[in-house]
């Protein structure tokens, strides 16, 4: 079933100003009314703290909050709801894994294999924990097309890394990695696989069991949900063995100065008052995506990305960075002698919002020997007309510098 993009667009109050072509969706997406209403409703009709209250409002808040967890569980195909840890974002989720699982698992000389295309959020936490434990971080290289080098993976696995950290979808190259295959090979070498799903969940159905990964992290704000919310999926047995990361309310069973015992999953990893309204908004975002249909969204977005790539490729001096076979709707490019920031500012002057810079993936920039790219990233509400405005805009930039 094809997607009615104009009807869908009307659901986004922030997109009412037609003069704005928002093509920076990999940074954060806009939010449909259903999500904004769910957040507001949480404050207006369920304003209370969760879990610890016996009064009606607190029960209502707890039910809505836990209901969102159930939706997320189904959304990513987790076997159990206890495997869904609610965090403040992808970054917090990945730091949780690094600090809790990593510190437990890593000893001096151990290796963490991190792909060269990781967002800093899936690299710096491993550098920090490596420094703390004496482990080392190895690089899993990327090919000229911007794909994972699978032969290099096999070689690297021979040295027996304890952990393999890899992104499902690259935010700067668009590459969709064959995470299931990475997990299969890594598991055969007894490594644990940590997948950064931040750029995947809004664009394709994700099933963590089919992927076979051990951990999977993502953010609500990149999938039409609120800011300040993320998810860490973890395999039950690993989560159970892990020590808590943060201490505080809700994550304990009993506390005294003589000793403290920790709560069961998922609460062991959810210290303090969570982002209650935000989590409820995430639940609404999942419902909304279910309604739109991820397959239909993917088809629509792929068409836009293809059109953009084709049109941009004809421009002189323009080079697409990231030419993997399987790509998410992300198009990164560089122009001869024109810096992406100048592209970004000039496009912005024409109402076309793109991201420019290293996209928190400096090793990718180094790999391709560039400082930055201009990145165009699509969401389900983008239109073919916006692609035209983008392409016209880039032509205008080239004229300015001609």
């Amino acid at each position: 079933m094809a997607l009615d993009v104009h009807a869908l667009r009307a659901e986004f109050p922030s997109l009412a100003r037609e003069e704005l072509a928002y093509l920076d969706n990999a940074s954060t997406t806009h939010k449909p009314r259903a999500v904004l209403d769910a957040v507001r409703d949480a404050y207006e009709h369920r304003c209370a703290n969760v879990h610890r209250g016996v009064h009606t409002l607190s029960q209502a808040a707890t039910e809505a909050y836990e209901g969102a967890r159930d939706r997320v569980q189904r959304f990513i195909g987790a076997e159990r709801r206890e495997e869904v840890i609610l965090t403040s974002g992808t970054t917090a989720a990945l730091n949780l894994v690094a600090q809790s699982y990593g510190r437990m698992r890593l000893s001096p000389g151990d290796r963490v294999l991190v792909s060269e295309m990781e967002h800093h959020s899936n690299l710096v936490p491993w550098q920090l924990v490596a420094q703390a434990t004496g482990a080392r971080v190895d690089k899993l290289p990327v090919t000229d097309e911007g794909e994972l080098d699978m032969d290099a993976l096999d070689r690297a696995l021979e040295s027996g890394p304890a952990i393999v950290a890899v992104t499902h979808v690259s935010n700067s190259l668009g590459t969709i990695n064959d995470v299931a295959e990475v997990a299969r090979r890594a598991h055969a070498a007894n490594a644990v696989v940590v997948v950064d799903g931040a750029q995947a969940v809004a664009h394709r159905p994700v099933d963590v069991q089919a992927l076979g990964c051990d951990f999977y992290a993502f953010s609500a704000h990149k999938m039409y949900g609120p800011t300040g919310v993320g998810v860490l999926y973890g395999r039950m047995d690993l989560l159970e063995a892990m020590p808590p990361w943060q201490g505080g309310g809700d994550m304990i069973l009993s506390v005294s100065f003589d000793g403290t015992t920790f709560n069961a999953l998922p609460y062991k990893f959810e210290a303090g008052t969570p982002n209650i309204a935000g989590v409820i908004g995430l639940g609404a975002a999942v419902d909304w995506l279910d309604r739109v249909g991820l397959e239909a969204a993917a088809t629509h977005e792929a068409a836009l990305a293809r059109a953009a790539e084709e049109a941009l490729s004809t421009l002189p001096g323009l080079r697409i960075v990231g030419t993997a076979r399987d790509k998410a709707p992300v198009v990164s490019f560089v122009l001869d002698d024109i810096h992406p920031h100048d592209v970004g500012t000039l496009l912005d002057g024409r109402g076309v919002a793109v991201r420019t810079g290293h996209h928190c993936t400096q090793p990718v920039m180094d790999r391709f020997d560039i400082a930055a790219t201009t990145r165009v990233s699509f969401a389900v509400y983008n239109t073919a007309h916006e692609v035209e405005r983008l392409v016209d805009g880039v032509k205008h930039v080239q004229e300015t510098f001609a």
Binding site: G53, V54, T56, S58, Q59, T62, L253, S254, A264, Y267
Partner: protein, 142 residues
């Protein structure tokens, strides 16, 4: 909000004020302790088990009226019964409290008396605590 006065019917209040089978059981052959994470309240259940029968059944702990009454009614109901029967009863109590089944018709049956707690999700655990603890005490590997 649901009206809790139904829940706090005479039986619950009465059992909580005059709990049956509350106290130590030095000769216990099975025992377990569980904490209610909502409040940190603890209940310990102890039994003398002979030939698969709960010959003697006692509980200790401090807690709310629902938890105490539930423990009291449970021990009254299950003392002298088989472990098998006790486990089935615990399953039934939990299903009734979760709203998954209606339970006994007899309004004076302990499980029926605890039925009202289903309207108060935050309190369900108070009603099931003693039964869970009993299950742990008599389950083989725990």
């Amino acid at each position: 909000m649901s009206d809790p006065t139904e829940l706090y019917k005479q039986a619950i209040v009465e059992h909580s004020k005059h709990p049956r089978n509350k106290g130590p059981l030095p000769e216990a052959t099975a025992e377990a302790t569980t904490i209610n994470p909502l409040c940190g309240d603890k209940v310990t259940v102890r039994a003398v088990v002979e030939d698969g029968q709960l010959v003697t059944l006692r509980f200790e702990g401090r807690g709310c009226a629902i938890a105490m009454a539930s423990a009291s009614m449970m021990t009254e109901l299950l003392e002298g019964e088989s472990i098998e029967h006790a486990l089935t009863s615990a399953d039934r109590l939990e299903a009734v409290v979760a709203g998954e089944q209606d339970g006994p018709d007899d309004p004076d049956h302990p499980i029926a008396r605890l039925r009202g707690v289903r309207a108060f999700p935050a309190r369900r655990r108070c009603a099931t605590l003693a039964w869970e603890t009993l299950r742990q005490a008599v389950s083989p590997s725990d």
